[in-house]
């Protein structure tokens, strides 16, 4: 799928930077990927790898006081988003590209009922009457399987449990039939039985609506169970990309391998977890060579001095590594 023009979203060589007291942070440092129609793409990585900043860049939600998209291109249905005016961007967000976040309470307005909030989004983007928008809100709550939807329309976010709030966020995000839904750690704050319900729901709705999903998470279990293709990020870079089965069967990048050996497993007893020694490099200084070299068990002198190539092993599987052979 990678590289074909049927992508609904095409991100090319994206660089997003922030100004901090310690200097310029290269949060996203040359990331490219495609999203196909109706596809579920996972972006996985640890804190600070740039996965959330990538999502915020796509939606152009990088706060202009501190950060900016320094270069690169983001095309949505062929239209360049990096240079699109703010008004046009506003018409896009919540309509054709939607987003849900980890903590729904921070994105819901505490003084408006959930019905009003969903209806507001519908009225703004689809220009329908208030009554029709409220009907649509009711339909959406039904769709995300909130029992007694009509009564819930008049409740405030604080009256709902965490799982219900996340359902409301999903209802709102899908209320205008977006082509792309970006979900940033949508189940991280939820208990496991609730997480299972929300993941089931997202996949069901994807089947029904055909919305493509970008699922951003640190959780390899969530990635394995929900996505079709995966981008692994490290220190602002894409270090590996593969169809989900290929990634788990045959992880190529030493970082991906390290991550997989470091997670405790529910299904097998491991005598000892593999550690990835050291820490993520500082992103305030330009990284010479491979960003993972300092922690990599197989790094050579070349890895520390020259930027590694993106090696294509076929079948849509690529890795940013000197030691991987095509």
């Amino acid at each position: 799928m990678s590289g074909n023009s049927g992508g609904i979203l095409e991100v090319r060589d994206l660089h997003t930077q922030f100004n901090t007291l310690d200097g310029v942070v290269r949060a996203v440092d040359g990331v490219s990927f495609d999203l196909a129609r109706g596809e579920t793409l996972g972006i996985v990585g640890e804190s600070g790898c740039g996965k959330s900043v990538t999502a915020l860049s796509i939606l152009r939600l990088i706060p202009p006081e501190t950060g900016r998209i320094a270069s690169g291109s983001i095309k949505f249905e062929g239209e360049e988003l990096t240079t699109l005016g703010e008004e046009a961007m506003k018409r896009l967000r919540g309509h054709r590209i939607s987003m849900i976040f980890q903590e729904p309470m921070t994105s819901l307005n505490p003084v408006l009922t959930v019905g009003t909030q969903i209806a507001e989004n519908v009225t703004r983007h689809l220009g329908v009457s208030k009554k029709a928008a409220r009907e649509r809100a009711c339909e959406m709550l039904d769709l995300v399987r909130i029992a007694d939807a009509r009564r819930r329309l008049d409740e405030y976010p604080h009256q709902l449990s965490g799982g219900m709030r996340q359902r409301v966020m999903i209802a709102m995000a899908l209320s205008c039939d977006p082509q792309v839904l970006i979900a940033d750690e949508p189940t991280t704050a939820l208990d496991v039985t609730i997480q299972a319900q929300i993941l089931d729901l997202m996949l069901d709705l994807k089947e029904k609506t055909g919305t493509a999903i970008v699922l951003i998470t640190h959780d390899l279990g969530v990635v394995a169970e929900t996505t079709q293709r995966v981008v692994v990020m490290y220190a602002g870079r894409k270090v590996e990309e593969a169809p989900v089965e290929a990634l788990f069967d045959n992880p190529l990048h030493p970082y991906t391998r390290g991550l997989m050996a470091a997670i405790p497993r529910l299904d097998v007893d491991a005598p000892r977890l593999q550690e990835i020694p050291g820490m993520v490099p500082l992103l305030t200084r330009p990284i010479v060579g491979c960003a993972f070299a300092a922690r990599c068990p197989i790094a050579t002198e070349r890895c520390r001095t020259a930027a590694p190539p993106m090696v294509d092993v076929g079948g849509g599987h690529t890795a940013l590594c000197w030691e991987v052979t095509p």
């Binding site: 496991v192 089931d200 394995a224 169970e225 989900v244 997670i263 405790p264 550690e275």
Partner: protein, 320 residues
């Protein structure tokens, strides 16, 4: 050898309401919990938010007073001890938090933070203290030079190492670890889990390991207690728990957890629907009956006792 035993532990928090702020009810955070931990053993306490697992930890540490029940630490009943009388026992039971940063004075160098318990308990002072702190730093994988740094200069994983060094300083017998790796990235989480396992082997520490993460539990625990709304619903060794879970809630937790293997993806993950009921108004009978796919009439009225159905395997369910 049992180092910590807890018998029918209860902790109720009053709910005040109305004009006069009278007590109108209580949250039964912990509702009759019993278990014991042996030297060198890890007991995992697992459950979802609000199940009371953290309250069990805090009560055992006597950071909050139990409403009823008994806590026996190394053969001595510490349940009713007042803070003064509790003091000498605090050396024997220490804690590691999820967020060690919040328990560290930002204006003190890390060496002073770790060395504080040594002075407080009169174990070592001055040079002797510094030497012990340096040894502790090395043991937990920090450079002794880092003693001069401040808490904010450490990464999340290093701070958790500091928290572990501080807990270890007074050579405790029991460590209550409340979600010690939940805030850490997986690569760092592996480092901290390995360290905890090594320290246990070295010092014969007993851990009460509180977590919501079943995979972490499987890795570190010897026995696991599953809690739901203030009660233990199943308690057994980890192998049995993962191979033959008996309580429907344990089954639900195991099936809901994600596995990092795309070939083991199941069509439907959620076998229980709905949310956990409020611990202020737990359902009558078996607390889980409102979400249980197998519940029968009896479950709605009768409390299931925690029974030993096989050697060492305890379960609280009418149907097993």
């Amino acid at each position: 050898m049992t180092v910590l035993a807890v018998d029918k532990l209860v902790k109720h928090f009053p709910i005040h309401g109305g004009l006069l702020q009278r007590q109108v009810g209580s949250v039964k955070a912990v509702d009759g919990v019993s278990f014991s931990i042996a030297k060198g053993e890890t007991l995992g306490l697992v459950g979802e938010s609000g199940c009371g697992k953290s309250t069990v930890g805090k009560t055992i540490l006597k950071l909050i007073e139990p409403t009823a029940g008994r806590i026996v630490l190394g053969g001595e009943d510490i349940t009713a001890l007042k803070p003064g009388a509790m003091w000498p026992h605090r050396r024997r039971i220490q804690t590691i938090f999820q967020d060690p940063y919040s328990s560290m004075n930002p204006r003190l160098p890390a060496g002073t933070i770790v060395g504080e318990p040594l002075e407080n308990f009169g174990i070592a002072q001055g040079r002797a203290r510094d030497e012990r702190v340096a040894a502790l730093f090395e043991r937990v994988g920090l450079r002794p030079e880092a003693m001069r740094k401040y808490a904010h200069e450490f990464s999340g994983g290093q701070r958790q190492r500091l928290g572990i060094a501080k807990a270890l300083a007074v050579s405790p017998e029991v460590i209550v670890a409340d979600e010690p790796v939940s805030a850490l990235d997986v690569s760092v989480q592996a480092q901290v889990l390995n360290l905890l396992i090594d320290l246990q082997a070295e010092y014969g520490l007993a851990y009460l390991f509180i977590s919501h993460d079943l995979a972490v539990m499987r890795h570190i625990s010897h026995r696991i207690a599953v809690m739901y709304l203030g009660r233990i619903v199943e308690l057994t060794d980890k192998r049995t728990l993962f191979a033959r879970p008996l309580h429907p809630y344990t089954e639900a937790l195991l099936s809901a957890a994600t596995v990092p293997d795309p070939r083991r993806r199941r069509a439907k993950k959620a076998i229980v629907q709905g949310d956990v009921p409020s611990p202020a108004k737990p359902p009558p009978g078996c607390h889980f009956h409102t979400r249980c796919p197998y519940a029968v009439a009896d479950c709605k009225v009768k409390d299931p006792p925690l029974r030993e159905v096989a050697p060492g395997h305890h379960v609280a369910c009418h149907l097993r």
